[in-house]
Amino acid sequence: MAITNERPLSPHLSIWRWGPHMLVSILHRVTGAGLTILGLAVLTWWLAAAAEGGESYETFLGFATAPFGLLILVGLTWAFYQHLLSGIRHLAMDSGAAFELTTNRRFAILTIVGSVVLTALTWAAFLGVFE
């Protein structure tokens, strides 16, 4: 008898009606992967460019202030807040709390609203709207 990788798999993604908790769960993965691959690449590029100086830093600033670069930076800001808030939610759930349906749903919605609001506030502050 050969060892196979065929393990029984119960249906999961396909059988549930979509709700905020499911959206936040998958967003946690997507934003986590995005922050790791894209976010750490941008952070590393920025630090390396700052160390190199001169033209390298100019190139980075050129990217960061171009429309496409700004879109990526705003996206990363949102991903950071979404992952932060749903991460805090997961830490609370690791303690066994917030599994009741209404509470769980409420906190899931709060992370989505919170990440959008915090992203808007951060960029407004960054662009000097409050000064």
Partner: protein, 131 residues
């Protein structure tokens, strides 16, 4: 089964069960996540407090211990946390042993390589003497 029928029941289950390392990985994800709540908020607040993001400002900020030390921690811990998280995603979706091993190895090399570039850049800014 490749071990043959002469293997004892214990011998048959050895090697196809838990690697007994899942707990450590799970805890590492949580501990680094708590550290990143602090360091993530530090990064956003620091960036907002800087008067601009021009080269001299950034070098002065990251050249002083108050900027260099948290940024060093942020780089190390976010690469560890990102690698922990990506491993969960890879293990969830890539079941074929060879592909799983290859992908995890690539991610490990990328994480160590990326972190080294970022840390070396920080060292250059702090000790490079470039004004």
């Amino acid at each position: 089964m490749s071990l043959g029928d002469s293997a004892s029941p214990l011998g048959k289950v050895r090697g196809i069960g838990s690697a007994e390392e899942g707990g450590g990985h799970w805890i590492s994800e949580r501990v680094t996540s708590i550290a990143l709540i602090i360091l993530g908020v530090w990064l956003v607040v620091s960036l907002l407090l800087l008067p601009d993001l021009n080269l001299p400002t950034v070098r002065e900020w990251l050249g002083a211990p108050s900027g260099a030390i948290p940024m060093t921690l942020l780089v190390i811990i976010s690469f560890v946390h990102g690698l922990d998280g990506m491993k969960v995603v890879v293990d969830d979706y890539v079941h074929e042993t060879g592909n799983n091993f290859a992908l995890n190895l690539i991610l490990l090399f990328l994480a160590i390589g990326g972190a080294s570039i970022a840390l070396f850049a920080l060292a250059r800014i702090a000790f490079g003497g470039n004004a």
